[in-house]
Symmetry: C2
Subunit: 347 residues, 2 copies
């Protein structure tokens, strides 16, 4: 029959002199007589047989493939998250269909369509389209956005992260705090960073202000705001919490350019835990998200498909790490602060 193509189970069965079903059972770990098992394994080895996942998937409706919907790969936070997710999935024998949407709702629709007809066993999505998630034919776990009580969501403990940032700044001697937030206007778990921060300020009676910019296009309002509070090299705040490491870093550079020393005069804490590829150091003092645990949790929730009890959002504990924009000094990753991209311990 199909010479010159890949061998099939039928070929293995003929070679081993057993029935088709027996070969199947060997490959699925069902009990098979020792002698038969050996004959089958020898034949499979000899023919270099590979099981055909498409035939199997057709029959069983399980594909061992998960769709991953992410907004970007250029941003180190998303890249690291995808890295952890693919690793966790691979570890359980799942393949990952990665789809990058570039924050484009149209692209998200296209991805969902492709994913559905490709019959993945589930989807892990960091998406901006509640409608698609809710209507999905396959199970979904979302990251950072809770769309529906029955759809599990994994995120870091953003509220606690905000609290930690405030507590840390106070502990380091700050007296007048500022919260800066920038990003697209979509309801997400990340919105709890500000409230956490303000909670501590209020409870400790600390003076604070905040600026929320719901804009995806420009950070200009932030710099205008800071300029207004700048007077001959002195800023009106001595501790700043930014909702993102990127913003923290840029605010730091803005202040330094305007003669405000960081961390001497103003201390800054960001959020995410992003590491600079060249130095291997955190780009700023930061609340780091437990990426690996989040990935593990997302995969577990998706594959066990038991709806978690109560509210369907899992908030994993964050940690604070000094990174040079606070007075508690930098914390280098790796030996000498020199990052080697081929340095696997780094993962």
């Amino acid at each position: 029959m199909n010479r010159n193509l890949q061998p099939t189970m039928k070929d293995v069965a003929r070679e081993a002199g057993v029935a088709l079903g027996t070969v199947s059972r060997v490959f699925n770990g069902y009990p098979v007589g020792e002698e038969y098992r050996e004959r089958v394994e020898a034949a499979a080895e000899k023919l270099n047989y590979r099981i055909n996942n498409y035939a199997r998937g057709l029959k069983t409706n399980k594909t061992f493939c998960i769709g991953l919907l992410m907004p970007s790969l250029r941003h180190p936070f998303f890249a690291a998250l995808i890295d952890e997710l693919t690793a966790a999935l691979m570890h359980r024998g799942y393949l990952t269909n990665v789809m990058i949407t570039n924050f484009d709702p149209g692209a998200e629709l296209k991805c969902f369509n492709l994913i559905e007809q490709n019959k993945v066993d589930g989807i892990i999505a960091l998406t901006y389209r509640p409608d698609l998630v809710v209507e999905s034919a396959v199970p979904v776990v979302t990251i950072d956005r809770q769309f529906h009580p029955a759809i599990p969501c994994v995120s870091s403990d953003n509220f606690r992260g905000g609290q930690m940032a405030a507590e840390k700044l106070l502990e380091l001697g700050c007296r007048k705090l500022l919260f800066l937030r920038i990003g697209p206007e979509i309801q997400s778990e990340a919105d709890r960073r500000g409230p956490g921060f303000e909670d501590v300020c209020r409870r400790t009676g600390t003076a604070y202000d905040s600026l929320l910019v719901n804009d995806e296009e420009t950070e200009a309002p932030v710099y205008q705001f800071l300029s207004r509070h700048l007077q001959d090299g002195h800023l009106d705040f001595d501790g700043i919490f930014c909702n993102t490491d990127g913003l923290a870093r840029r605010v730091m550079e803005f202040l330094e350019r305007n003669g405000v020393r960081v961390p001497d005069e103003v201390q800054i804490i960001g959020y995410d835990g992003i590491i600079d590829f060249a130095t291997g150091c955190y780009v700023c003092s930061t609340i780091v998200q437990p990426l690996r645990q989040m990935a593990e949790a997302a995969v577990n929730l998706l594959l066990s498909s038991e709806t978690p009890a109560g509210e369907a959002v899992l908030r994993l504990p964050v940690t604070y790490v000094p990174g040079g924009t606070t007075r508690d000094g930098p914390a280098a990753v790796g030996d000498s602060g020199v990052y080697n991209p081929f340095h696997t311990e780094f993962r």
Copy 2:
């Protein structure tokens, strides 16, 4: 029959009152009478029918899925490459199975096995295992490594890149050049950067030196070498070409820490074209690889599966971009040098 499950072609056929084959032809773009086509489309719409790629794949041996084997996602160069590749594949209607090996040969084997039994239509690989590539049952296109004359390889024009670096440094007034190379000892297209650089030095009679460190673990030899050529704040070279942006950046910081001003006293050029996520600027003056073109080419080669004429390696043109470590000034990406991660133009 299978109520409560996804509708099948049979269901659509019954609903539309046509034969199974007719439905199939509609979905595959074969000529079908207008009236029939409409009935089928209406029925499919009504039942919310999705074609089952696993059944189709079983029958046709085409899966519209490509395996992507990459060493890392934490390094911005790989992340950007994967981004371009998934985009190019998606654009052609292909899904991408991303697998990260973390430079681990054992993991590479595991990935190849998984990929083969999952019946992808082809593989794009940046791998360290010639054996697996050569023996692969499905077509492979490699990035940066030519393993076999019949297996296409895509890379940037590394030799020309090396030449450009040297030419640029000379043009900017350098007189004593240095080439620094670090990385694992594997034969790859990147090895041509040094020879290109040296080619220009030799032809112009320029004084130059080079240091090649075949080590994946540490860059210490580089800093020892530089220390030996440092004397009270003066370095023995005034132009350095590093085989990597990361190295270039770290060398810059090392020199600055030792009182050597960059780019005033020493100018540095790196290779890759990596952009800092926080600032949106190149991390150093650099030879940038045409990632998008490389991705397009890889996908084209893989999907057209015509073996290219002659030598099977495609070397795409690089460009030089000033990035602050040379005297021709920085070139910011985007308007104000401020990078917004939600800024799609950035792609």
